[in-house]
């Protein structure tokens, strides 16, 4: 733990810095491959839609005194086409069938109750009209649209339109990946899954907002100096919030993991598992994208701005691009691919002569530089892990 704290400090001061913004091509490539897989699977394999979307009926019967085959035979005897029969944990058997009428559902419940020696009242039943899932999906899509518009407006006002664009790209990335996982693994999609995906909206943006808030703070008044390009400042922000991002994902994934565990291993299936699975994938993707997709994209968009380009030229002409990684040179296209190891910004402090326009961090760094040599061992190798 204390090691993490120290790394946290080094990340904060820029002493250890992972070049995240500069290596955007690598992250885009990684995400591109996953997205290609996700979209490809969506196109060619499609989604395994639950009965809520296709119409049909689902029954759950206590399975203390019957087997899956008993249940299948009992339902088949009523003349209804059985779709799937699965065990839910140790206590229940779940039977799904084609769409049935109300009268038939009563028959099936009775048949299952007889086969498993329980009362008909103990058999849970769900009958879904074929339009229901469409209704839910359509409403979810409406909600998605409205939410995206509102949140874009908010982000554009609170931050900057380029931040809004980057955050939305990251969001779409997360949602596509999550749906892709469902398609690839052929997990059943239920309304609970839709809820989970919708929650990812909020979470993914929440995560991005926290990172962007730091970027905003670091780049305030950036045009008034010539030591740091926007990309470098953004990279520093990502590094400074790295510990937060990791902690947050762990803290968010723990309860979701608990739901997943309880849902999958104890209950077998149902709302809890469907929800948690979508969330688990989505939160993991959300953390990744806020660091590796949203921020590099933001930096690229920003560097198109003529003022930022002028700044980049000023920084380049000064010949010092110390913090934020050596490889993240000023222009968005200038990826050197070098500096795979975190640079130990020893030189950085030397340049930090507090100018009038310098931000708080530079002042702090200058103070530290003035307060004597650091007796910290440089744990470069450890930080790399």
């Amino acid at each position: 733990m204390s090691r993490v704290s120290e790394i946290g400090h080094k990340l904060y001061s820029g002493e250890v810095s992972y070049n995240i913004v500069g290596r955007y091509r690598r992250w885009y490539a990684i995400s591109g491959v996953f997205l290609l897989l996700a979209v490809g699977s969506l196109v060619f394999r499609g989604l395994n839609l639950g009965i809520e979307f296709t119409g049909g009926a689902e029954f759950q019967v206590p399975s203390a005194s019957c087997t899956i085959d008993d249940a299948r035979a009992a339902v088949a005897d009523t003349g209804v086409q059985v779709s799937t029969v699965t065990a839910l944990g140790n206590d229940y058997i779940r039977v799904t069938t084609e769409a049935v009428e109300q009268g038939q559902s009563l028959q099936i419940r009775q048949a299952l109750a007889d086969a498993c020696q329980v009362q008909a009242d103990d058999v849970a039943a769900q009958v879904v009209g074929p339009t229901w899932g469409g209704e839910i999906t359509q409403k979810a899509l409406t909600a998605l649209g409205v939410f995206l518009v509102l949140v874009s407006v908010f982000l554009a006002i609170y931050f900057d339109w380029r931040m809004a664009v980057s955050a939305l790209v990251a969001l779409i990335h997360d949602i596509l990946l999550t749906i892709g996982v469902y398609s690839l693994l052929q997990f059943e999609v239920t309304p609970a899954t839709v809820i989970g995906v919708l929650t990812i909206l909020g979470y993914s943006l929440y995560d991005t907002v926290v990172v962007f808030d730091k970027v905003k703070e670091n780049t305030r008044g950036i045009l008034g100096q010539s030591r740091q390009t926007y990309s470098q400042a953004a990279n520093l922000a990502v590094n400074q919030t790295l510990v937060r991002s990791i902690n947050t994902s762990i803290v968010a994934l723990l309860p979701v993991g608990a739901i997943l565990f309880v849902g999958a291993w104890i209950l077998g299936a149902g709302t809890l598992k469907d929800l948690a699975l979508a969330l688990f994938v989505g939160i993991a993707a959300g953390t990744y994208s806020s660091i590796f997709i949203a921020t590099p994209l933001l930096a690229q968009l920003m560097e198109r701005d003529p003022q930022m380009q002028a700044l980049a030229r000023r920084v380049a002409s000064r010949g010092v691009g110390p913090r934020g990684g050596k490889s993240s040179t000023a222009s968005p296209s200038g990826e050197s691919g070098a500096a795979a190891e975190p640079d130990s910004g020893g030189a950085a402090t030397a340049t930090a002569v507090a100018e009038p326009g310098a931000d708080a961090m530079d002042r702090a760094r200058a103070r530290r530089a003035a307060s004597g040599p650091r007796n910290q061992p440089k744990r470069t190798s450890r930080a790399k892990r």
Binding site: M1, S2, S5, E6, G8, H9, Y12, G55, D91, E98, V100, E101, Q102, G103, S105, A125, Q126, V128, G129, P130, T131, W132, E135, I136, K139, A140, A143, V146, F147, V151, F154, A192, I195, T199, L201, G202, Y203, Y206, T241, N247, T248, I250, V251, L254, P255, A258, I259, F261, V262, G263, I266, L267, T271, L272, L275, A276, L279, A364, G372, Q376
Partner: protein, 567 residues
């Protein structure tokens, strides 16, 4: 430690907050009130039918909120007729985007419930033939079936001149196996009621000899006979009850159908200062009204009355006091504001009935529900413990603050669930439980953001008290922005979605608000108080802001507050 007047005084925030929390908790656990959240059907067991309102065929394709309210009132009446306690009918969303959710706890016959709630209600104006005492003359009034052959309405003034007709075979509703209908037939009830299912109020063609006997046996004292839901063939005679069960009406076939009412409004007569309901009819309706009023207005009561029948229940039976031409009518009487508004709503509903498509029917047995609840609570407990452990390990004493904050947030959320359940009928579903569990992570994240900011400030070389202050000011902005996005998502989901999505969105939104409240009113002052203590300022090892562990090496002169704290 004397402090300048402008300094943040944590106890001034924390004190009232804690007092408020205690009061809230006392209210939640007040003896005699329900002290647990109201559980949704998926957790307590029961049957839930979700109905999707559709504009009736031939209408202009809109569903208004007034119609929805009326549809809900009708369904509620029908469900109450089942005699199930705590049945609940709610509208989710509004207008075209809405759903009506009927929740009936315990075990009810699923098929009968669906049949009952899914049928479209019809409005009709019928001339009154006779009014009797509500009690059934024969107490064992059996359920009987209407005539399967609706004949042309005979405008006969009395019910007694009915001629012989073959008696229909009575069938029992719940035992009737629906043999060969298509699945769609069960999913979407036909918009016009067909004569296939018998109910207690009696319908008959004019030539049905048994009509009067059966009508006499009808007992309006039984609530199920006043619940509606009977298929009302407007071409047939009808014997039915009024809403309160004070009278039994024998009614002629309808002379005006609900769709012929174009508008209805409650209005206050400035002269008499009494409420009345004004009505407008389309041309066919206006003609029918003129004809019938001219014909019967001079007859002796009750035959000069007409009944406003919605869903086969009499809502009002005014007398004609004059012939009404021109398609405008006014119903006056001793109405209260509410009664007049109710009646106007009833009449408006008739002008554009909505049909209800059955979206989903779910039955959960109480055992399965209890299992779900246990699983949800277990998952919540595991999640909470894991998060608490992680926070303690990573943030030490600050982690303790975080865990306490999580506990407070959990307590407030529980209070809110109980109180909302009690006051607003909010029910906690499995999706809601999941939302609350997910919120553990989001709430804990607020503390992570805050504590990391404090550490950042400490790394800048600030003293802890200053760091706690400056860190808060920066974290506050981030928290508000991030929580705003979460809340926005929850609100959009709540407003635009239906079914379990709403329960989830509500829980998520609520816990997001609780998160902000706890961070501002509890975590922040507690951290401020801790930051003022000596051991924290010294950055002891367990404090969570241990300088050595943070990798900061502050010269001794950088700790003036620690020296000041020594007494």
């Amino acid at each position: 430690m004397a402090s300048p007047a402008t300094r943040y005084r944590p106890w001034r925030v924390l004190g009232p907050f804690l007092i408020g929390l205690v009061l809230l908790t006392v209210w939640t656990f007040w003896p005699g009130l329900s002290n647990t959240p109201q559980l949704g059907l998926d957790l307590q067991g029961g049957t839930q039918v979700t109905l999707l309102p559709q504009p009736a065929p031939g209408s202009d394709g809109t569903v208004t909120n007034e119609q929805l309210d009326q549809a809900v009132a009708i369904i509620r009446q029908r469900v109450d007729g089942l005699g199930v306690a705590e049945a609940e009918v709610t509208v989710q969303g509004s207008g075209q985007n809405s759903a009506i959710v009927v929740s009936v706890p315990g075990s009810v016959p699923q098929d009968r419930l669906v049949e009952l709630v899914g049928r479209t209600a019809q409005l009709a104006f019928r001339a009154v033939e006779a009014i009797y005492d509500p009690a059934g003359v024969d107490p064992n009034a059996p359920a009987e079936s209407p005539s399967p052959e609706p004949t042309a309405p005979a405008p006969s003034p009395t019910a007694t001149d009915a001629s012989a007709a073959p008696s229909p075979t009575p069938t029992d509703a719940s035992s009737e196996p629906s043999a060969s209908a298509t699945p769609e037939a069960s999913a979407s009830p036909s918009p016009t009621p067909t004569v296939e299912q018998p109910e207690t109020p009696v319908q008959a063609a004019s030539d049905d000899t048994e009509f009067e006997d059966r009508a006499l046996r009808l007992d309006c004292g039984l609530p199920e006979n006043r619940a509606g839901g009977v298929p009302d063939d407007q071409g047939l005679w009808l014997a039915t009850c009024d809403r309160e069960g004070v009278a039994k009406y024998i009614l002629q076939p309808a002379f005006i159908k609900g769709t012929q009412v174009t508008n209805a409004q409650a209005q206050l007569d400035p002269q008499t200062n009494g409420w009345s309901v004004s009505l407008t009819f389309d041309s066919a309706g206006a003609k029918a009204l003129a004809d019938i009023s001219t014909e019967i207005w001079q007859k002796t009561p009750p035959q000069n009355q007409f009944a406003i029948v919605l869903d086969a229940i009499v809502y009002s039976a005014p007398q004609f006091i004059e012939p009404i031409g021109g398609g405008q009518a006014q119903i006056t009487g001793d109405f209260t504001t509410e009664e007049a508004a109710d009646l106007a709503n009833v009449l408006k509903f008739g002008s554009l009935p909505i049909s209800l498509e059955v979206g989903q029917v779910t039955s959960i047995t109480p055992t399965v529900g209890a299992d779900y609840l246990r699983a949800g609570l277990l998952a919540g407990a595991i999640g909470l413990i894991l998060v608490a452990l992680y926070l303690l390990l990573y943030y030490r004493a600050l982690g303790l603050v975080a865990v306490a904050s999580l506990g407070i947030a959990a307590l407030i959320s529980y209070n809110a669930f109980v109180i909302f359940g009690r006051q607003l009928g909010f029910t906690l579903t499995l999706a809601g439980v999941a939302g609350a569990i997910v919120a553990i992570g989001i709430t804990a994240d607020s503390f992570v953001v805050y504590f990391e900011r404090i550490r950042d400030e400490a790394r800048e070389g600030r003293t802890l008290r200053v760091a706690a202050e400056a860190g808060w000011i920066r974290a506050r902005r981030t928290l508000l922005a991030a929580d705003f996005v979460s809340l926005l998502g929850a609100i959009v989901l709540y407003v635009l979605s239906i079914g379990s999505v709403r329960g989830f969105a509500f829980a998520l939104g609520l816990t997001t608000v609780v998160d902000v409240v706890v961070a501002f009113l509890f975590t922040r002052p507690v951290v401020a108080i801790l930051a003022g203590t000596r051991s924290f300022q010294a950055g002891k090892k367990w404090s969570g802001v241990d300088m050595a562990r943070l990798g900061v090496h502050t010269p001794p002169s950088r700790q003036p507050a620690a020296a000041a704290g020594r007494r």
